[in-house]
Symmetry: C3
Subunit: 138 residues, 3 copies
Amino acid sequence: MRRSFLIALLGAVSLLASAQDAPKHPTRVVVQVSEADSARWNLVLNNVKNLQDDLGVKNVAIEIVAYGPGIGMLKFDAPTNSRVSEALKSGVAVQACENTMRNQKLAQADMHPGISYVPAGVVQIIKRQQEGWAYLRP
Amino acid sequence: MRRSFLIALLGAVSLLASAQDAPKHPTRVVVQVSEADSARWNLVLNNVKNLQDDLGVKNVAIEIVAYGPGIGMLKFDAPTNSRVSEALKSGVAVQACENTMRNQKLAQADMHPGISYVPAGVVQIIKRQQEGWAYLRP
Amino acid sequence: MRRSFLIALLGAVSLLASAQDAPKHPTRVVVQVSEADSARWNLVLNNVKNLQDDLGVKNVAIEIVAYGPGIGMLKFDAPTNSRVSEALKSGVAVQACENTMRNQKLAQADMHPGISYVPAGVVQIIKRQQEGWAYLRP
């Protein structure tokens, strides 16, 4: 009994240790883009810039996830195109939802080069929250 | 002292055990509807469907909470009516805010049959987050 | 080795103890205002009132953070001015984003007296989530 108690304690300690594992970036934020509105796309990109300026680029991991009507932000001819390039250059992950692309008959050739793709934007957003990322819906 | 130390440790272990209690569904998501816009209602229902398709219906608990201008999605004559029925059939909880209904002089007879009711939509959304549910505001 | 094991356990227990520290308010909510739409500002203020009515004013800490196009809610001549005063009187923290104010050439003299200021609204929203606050984006 004494032995099993110690084993339980060892388990407790290792659990705590893993809970303490510092993520690579102290702050992690998943940013949702789900509106077909270029003013909102610019707001999203302002928000990302402010997070980086305030916290330091190296201290914050940012993922932009565009889905539904928000997918337009990541088309190659979007008005926010050069700002998306800047965000990518600064280390932001910019992700398009493949479900949305299928629905809107969009191919990767229609999109901003350099972005990445997720099977379902909404699943990515939920997954990140479960992993402890903060959620921003501008 | 040795004894009280062991008691403290036992407490620590039981705390950890309860923190480890697996919820019934590994993924739990509360989805907010607060806009009077049927395109957004369809987006919400698309999002719910994608979560179920991607994660498996049995692996994700979803609650839709409609309040404020979003309450219209749950009226019996809403354009999204049949899709709300499908969501209910698939096990999604669909909840209308009674505060909003009072303000807009809506009775349960005005609403989609089969939905459920919460006293305050906003309280439900906050409560779920406190319980560890992810939050989606499409 | 036995000794270092006990030290590790002591660490585990104190970690758990700090995780158990009750925050002053059992419920803490950060509410985002990022749209230039007075109907949405009223919805935000309704939501805050409902949270207070349902949970009890003393049981919920609420911070409203206005940034980007949402900053208009906190100008001294906003249509929601008297309701913002009521929210402040009830203990809600109402915060304007100084980044946005700089961009829109707004001074504190242009704003509702009694509000407070944060360097970057979006950083405040993320920080609060990291501290365990629930997030509401009406």
